[in-house]
Amino acid sequence: MAEDKQHNIGKLEDPAKRETFRNVFKRFGVVLVGTIVGQSMILSRPSRAAEALRPPGALPDLDFDSACVRCGLCVEDCPYDILKLASWADPAPQGTPYFVAREEPCRMCKDIPCAKACPTGALDRHMTDIKKADMGVAVLVDHETCLNYKGMTCSICWRVCPIRDEAITLEPIQSEKGRLLIPTVHSDTCTGCGTCEKHCVLSEAAIRVLPRELGLGLSGRNSVGRS
């Protein structure tokens, strides 16, 4: 037993072996620390905020993140200079293209130059019909301030909609204030271009484009709710 112990000590004190072990552990350490720091950086990165909309034809969020090479070709090909590439302080992952509807909405070009410019498939370059685009969905978020709910016939959102009477219709309802014309968004035709949000006359828009998963309910049972 003692002899065995002696033997082991002899092994560890072999300077070459010590050096090897030290190097191995050093490298493991570097990789481990690097991975933890890097991974936490990736996980804590600002994800896309709800008001930052992707250009037409964009893949779903996570897929988009992995496919987009941040080259900005879509931005350069946007004839209205609406798209921007996110920098560090912006509400989308760095270097990725986005636009804010309230500032400048998508003009829904028929030839979709931004999507055509994409080399990687982050935007679908084969898309032919801009009306099939899904940048989000307009939602009338505030019934208290919307002028049409107050009985005035503002209807600006309906009038500016590029797919008028399909994406937004005015639905008459009878209330104690009289007959109201309620702007109603049809999520199957709304492309989320944001023109309605841009032109809402209130100082904060009552109608806003949201990512589909935030803007829409889904019928069926709530698995985390009442059992």
């Binding site: 690097g34 996980l43 993140d65 992995s66 496919a67 941040r70 990687t120």
Partner: protein, 280 residues
């Protein structure tokens, strides 16, 4: 006049290199009236003359690791770029294309000018670890890990889109190279250089030494002094090899500008390619 001519000749590689670098940079920025820009996009992916689509193979590799399927235009672009560097020399990118080289070379030049001696020594193999880490994190995070930092495309985005909020990183990089560690970024840390170094490991464009005795008799090693990756010249100077074969060589030509003995030259070694194959 003669002095100017000699001065130009003494810096012929440097001047050519800077010209190429700046022309490439300007191609992305300056819009020619009536034509537009020569190149659109940035070094991640670009469209040249409205026709030629080029894509950075390292960035595309990250998208692959992040779990994205690779689209055809990007793949073709990356094959063109990758093939070019694999054939000639990978790190040509570093010294002839990359805009960060302008910043780090400026830092090094200032460092010499200001006699800044302090140097934190870093391992030259650190960049391969950063490279591995970038790919591993792309895989784990499902995003392009290096593109969150990459000062190359950031530099272009800052310049082309005039959004200055990321300029801090470039400043930090400059100061680090200037004050903390000599040639830290390009020579030790940057995984893009590491990637291109590996890609162009067997590139055919080589700094070659014609066997003369002048090196010994004069006893000069100025080529090694000016080389940004001095270890690549060691086998040549010690006469163990006839040409620089290390993938770390950026073919910047600093050694050629410095060599007044006519020993070193840049050669396209196509014969070596054939004999290597025959040897196998």
């Amino acid at each position: 006049m003669l002095r100017l001519g000699r001065g130009l000749y003494r810096h012929r590689w440097l001047l050519t290199r800077r010209t190429v670098q700046i022309v490439i940079l300007l191609a992305f920025i300056v819009a020619i009236p009536g034509y537009g820009k020569i190149a659109e996009g940035n070094l991640a992916s670009s469209l040249w003359f409205g026709e030629l689509k080029l894509t950075d193979p390292f960035i595309l590799l990250q998208t692959f690791f992040a779990g994205s399927t690779i689209a055809l235009p990007a793949l073709i672009g990356a094959l063109i770029v990758g093939g070019f560097y694999a054939f000639l020399a990978g790190r040509l990118y570093c010294s002839w294309v990359c805009p960060i080289n302008l910043i780090t070379d400026l830092a090094y030049w200032l460092r010499k000018r200001l006699h800044i001696k302090g140097n934190m020594s870093l391992s030259r193999s650190l960049r391969y670890w950063v490279l591995a880490l970038a790919l591993a994190l792309s895989f784990l995070g499902g995003t392009l890990a290096w593109e969150m930092i990459n000062p190359i495309t950031r530099f272009q985005r800052e310049l082309v889109w005039f959004s200055f909020s990321g300029a801090m990183l470039l400043g930090a990089l400059f100061l680090f190279d200037l004050l903390v560690s000599r040639r830290a970024w390009c020579g030790h840390l940057c995984p893009v250089g590491a990637f291109y170094g590996l890609l162009g490991r067997y590139g055919r464009l080589k700094v070659t030494a014609t066997p003369t005795e002048s090196c010994d008799t004069v006893g000069c090693s100025r080529c090694v002094t000016v080389c940004p990756e001095p270890h690549v010249l060691a086998p040549v100077v010690s006469k163990q090899a006839q040409s620089v074969t290390s993938g770390d060589c950026t073919r910047c030509g600093a050694c050629l500008d410095e060599c007044h003995e006519g020993t070193l030259s840049m050669k396209l070694d196509l014969v070596g390619m054939v004999t290597r194959k025959a040897g196998k």
